[in-house]
């Protein structure tokens, strides 16, 4: 199980982020480097890519807030 972690330095301060869109559904096969989610923090958006090949398990659904460093999914 490889966690998909939001880098703790992706943004500054203690603002919360959220996934604006998951590009894959729960259980979909993804390849390392695939863009899997778009994360918005305040007004900026970031691309999140898969760290490994495997099946996507979404831990935090779209529009649910999280802090920097959060594990938003796992690749198994």
């Amino acid at each position: 199980m490889i966690p998909v972690v939001i880098p703790p330095d992706l943004w500054e301060g203690d603002a919360e982020g959220a996934v604006s869109a998951w590009l894959f559904a729960e259980g979909d096969a993804v390849r390392a480097g695939d863009l899997i989610a778009e994360v918005m923090v305040e007004k900026t958006s970031y691309d999140v890519t898969a760290p490994a090949d495997g099946m996507l398990q979404i831990r935090i659904p779209a529009e649910i807030p999280f802090k920097r460093g959060a594990i938003i999914a796992a690749i198994g």
Binding site: L23, F24, A29, D34, E38, M40, S45
Partner: protein
């Protein structure tokens, strides 16, 4: 059911947003063909207000990814000239609503030069432009104007509803020897700040491919009614079709994909099977896409079991306030109500 069934991945998808699919098509065509370049406002360093040129400046540099002054008549006219001498410019009109300041370059030159030159002078250019409302930007930044462009002869007009089609239609548009108006709906771009319609994100093959113009897609098969949509309304129709199952109604959803050329055959064949027709269009109701589709079906002599209907934007400027705008827009609820009435009401 306790244990959820394991979903076996049968193939690796590569899902993209429409914004990313457009950018990928542009990049691949620019690599393949040095005559392709992109011009527009905020398309270079910013990567496009709607994200569809992101990353291009870094790869291709400012000579081929050109931020323009706010001079639409100038740079769209320049595209016509570039096309005349063998380039394949792609220009962005940031919001279709701005066509008022540059329409002559589009419909009197880009669209007519081939004809007036007796075929000597083709105009291979693409004009990509954002359309659509629903996010409270009022009537100078929310229109669709599909009918306005499709009405005027000499330009092809395409409207993708998903990332796969967006990439394939963009590749076709760039390779086409005619002016192509590529109208992308803001709600489908996959830009978080405009909301994201999940259905617009789908599997996009890595290699370049084309989606031919003039071929509508059956987005969902059904036998009771044909719902025709384009762009964002395809997703409203699909949502409605899903809900209608509970009412025992199977709706077929046709995604037009291209307005010029228009695939009347697919629409007619579908309506022939279902006997009913509902057109859902976010553009103004009168003198537009919805009327054209209905007329095409009626002209073909297709026998209908209930009068055709349409759900479109009423003939009023798009208002700002959400309590004015939202009820005026097409919605899945309106579709469900209309379809239920048409099928069950026997009208």
């Amino acid at each position: 059911m306790t244990a959820t069934a394991t979903i076996l991945p049968n193939r690796a998808k590569r899902n993209l947003t429409i914004a990313k699919a457009m950018a990928e098509a542009l990049a691949q065509e620019m690599r393949r063909d040095p005559s392709v370049l992109v011009m527009g406002e905020d398309i270079a360093a910013l990567g496009g207000v709607f994200g569809n040129t992101r990353g291009l400046l870094e790869e291709f540099g400012p000579a081929r990814i050109r931020d323009t002054p706010i001079s639409e008549t100038g740079f769209i006219g320049a595209a016509v000239g570039m096309a005349a001498v063998g380039m394949r410019p792609v220009v962005e009109l940031m919001f279709v609503d701005f066509f008022g300041v540059c329409m002559d370059a589009i419909y009197n030159m880009a669209a007519k030069n081939c004809y007036f030159s007796g075929g000597q002078s083709a105009v291979p250019m693409v004009l990509m432009t954002s359309v659509g409302g629903g996010y409270g930007d009022a009537g100078q930044h929310s229109q669709c104007l599909y009918g306005t462009f499709a009405h005027l002869p000499g330009m092809k007009v395409v409207v993708p509803s998903n990332a796969y089609d967006a990439k394939g239609l963009m590749v076709s548009a760039i390779r086409d020897n005619n002016p192509v108006i590529f109208m992308f709906h803001k709600a489908l771009q996959g830009m978080g700040w405009l909301g994201t319609v999940q259905g617009s994100i789908n599997d996009v093959p890595e290699d370049a491919y084309t989606v031919p113009f003039g071929q509508a897609a059956i987005a969902r098969a059904g036998r009771d009614i044909t719902i025709v949509g384009l762009g964002a309304t395809v997703h409203l129709a699909l949502d409605a079709a899903e809900e209608l199952i509970a009412n025992g109604i199977e709706a077929e959803v046709v995604d037009l994909r291209s307005l010029v050329p228009l695939d009347r055959a697919t629409v007619n064949a579908s309506v022939k099977r279902t006997g009913r027709l509902l057109v859902v269009d976010e553009d103004y109701q009168s003198y537009g896409v919805s009327g054209e589709i209905i007329a095409s079906v009626v002209e073909a002599g297709t026998v209908l079991t209930s009068p055709p209907r349409r759900i479109a934007f009423p003939d009023i400027p798009i208002p700002f306030s959400p309590t004015l705008e939202r009820p005026a827009l097409p919605s899945a609820e309106k579709i469900v109500a209309a379809v239920t009435d048409m099928v069950r009401g026997g009208r």
